[in-house]
């Protein structure tokens, strides 16, 4: 009955230590393409969350039924189904965001983060753990996208969630909401994360040496 802390652990690892964008560097396509504003990044993150959690649930439920030889195909069918559902739902509920995200919603199907979690985790673990893992990973993904989106919107448009921050005197750095801005923001965030991880590693080393 050691299941509870284990699932918390699986949930937390996706948020920070194994963050899909900043540590594993997965799902770069949406992380760069639709993070030109905070609201787009959030919507993309939540859409991915929906797909990943439900796909993990189903894959984990059917993990003993799906023949191993066709498992990838089966995963893709499951993922694609939920992606299409999300596409319909977004068009029905928030047509504006659906318009902004455009083709990138359909492209969630090929987000390697999702297929990767099915193959590496959900297809080998119990439903509870798979759900915790999916939720943690996708929230980590949403968090990462939101970080990039906030930086790019604040610098590139002088606003946050469409609320103007600096008044009219601010000259926005248009490049930040253009594709190169995605690379700049992501690059600096990766730099920060790696610096942070290295620093912690060093601290741990010195600690163990002291002991």
């Amino acid at each position: 009955m050691n299941d509870k802390p284990r699932s918390t652990e699986e949930f937390l690892k996706g948020l920070w230590n194994e963050n899909p964008v900043f540590v594993a560097v997965l799902g770069m396509c949406p992380a760069l393409a639709v993070t030109n504003s905070a609201i787009n990044a959030l919507a993309m993150g939540l859409a991915t969350t929906f797909v990943l959690v439900f796909s993990s649930l189903l894959v984990s439920l059917f993990r003993n039924i799906i023949p191993k030889q066709v498992r990838i195909t089966a995963f893709i069918i499951i993922i694609a189904t939920f992606v299409t559902v999300v596409d319909f739902l977004l068009a029905a509920i928030t047509p504006v965001i659906h318009k902004e995200l455009g083709a990138f919603i359909a492209l969630i199907v090929v987000n390697c983060l999702i297929l990767g979690r099915q193959e590496a985790f959900a297809s080998k673990n119990k439903v509870g753990l798979a759900l915790a893992d999916g939720l943690g990973m996708s929230l980590g993904f949403t968090f990462a996208l939101l970080c990039i989106g906030v930086i790019r919107e604040v610098l590139g448009n002088g606003s946050l969630f469409n609320i103007s921050l600096f008044g009219d005197n601010f000259e926005p750095w248009v490049i930040m909401i253009l594709p190169p801005g995605g690379f700049f923001a992501l690059g600096f965030l990766l730099l920060f994360f790696n610096w942070f991880i290295q620093r912690r590693k060093k601290q741990n080393e010195t600690k163990t040496q002291e002991i």
Partner: protein, 241 residues
């Protein structure tokens, strides 16, 4: 060396198990596809009315926007080169539907006294990324464009999307003459009333909008003027009111 061994193809673990027959694999995928199909159809049917309502609301909002002062509008459909009111359409649609093609539609707008203002005409044209779908207000008596609104576009955020976000660009279409053809000029170079100032950094998108207007006007001017002639009585009546 041990690192190399760490990665083994997951499928390789099962080679010693009995290989399931192809039929079984096909069956499993068939079931998966079938269930997925059911889920998709129900999601589609569930969201369809909402999506349609959103589209209709967006279109309606756009019509009111491109025809300033518009209070109500009437849909007109183009059938065999002739514009028909939707009420007259009943008898004709049967024929049309058999052809499998929905008739193209434009909208005639009236102000709160029932006075005719102009037509709202939808059109589309390839832009920088994808098709730009737009609607514009056309005052047929003055031969002028009186409003413009983008319905669908995937233009570059921050540059191309200024065709619907930049008020400067939008102001080009408050009163734009359409004879001779509309021309795209650089920002600040507008002299004639038939010129549109393009957006710096989004020339392709701006030019696509101009192309859209010219093409669409060419297509619609004739049926529109014929419709006006046919309904001249109605129009003058409206004007007298």
């Amino acid at each position: 060396m041990s690192e190399e061994k760490q990665y083994t193809d997951p499928a390789a673990n099962f080679t010693d198990e009995k290989e399931p027959s192809s039929l079984k694999l096909i069956f499993a995928l068939g079931i998966a596809g079938f269930l997925s199909g059911i889920l998709l159809v129900s999601a589609y049917l569930y969201t369809l009315p909402m999506i349609e309502a959103n589209k209709a609301a967006a279109l309606q909002k756009a019509i009111f926007k491109v025809l300033p002062g518009c209070h109500s509008f009437q849909s007109l459909a183009l059938i065999d080169g002739e514009l028909m009111e939707e009420s007259e359409l009943g008898e004709v649609t049967g024929k049309q539907q058999k052809k499998g093609e929905a008739p193209k539609k434009i909208f005639a707008g009236f102000d709160d006294q029932g006075k005719f203002i102009g037509f709202a005409i939808p059109g589309s044209e390839p832009g920088f990324q994808d098709i730009i779908g737009a609607i514009y207000g056309y005052d047929a008596t003055k031969n002028m464009i009186i409003g413009f609104e983008v319905l669908e576009s995937k233009e570059t955020p921050g540059l191309g999307d200024k065709i619907f976000k930049d008020p400067d660009f939008q102001s080009n279409f408050a009163s734009l003459e359409t004879e001779p053809d509309i021309l795209a000029v650089k920002k600040g170079k507008k002299v004639n009333p038939n010129e549109v100032e393009t957006i710096t950094g989004a020339t392709i998108s701006s030019k696509a909008v101009v192309r859209l207007l010219n093409k669409s006007l060419k297509e619609w001017k004739l049926p529109v003027s014929e419709y006006l002639r046919k309904n001249n009585m109605d129009l003058t009546n409206n004007l007298k009111k």
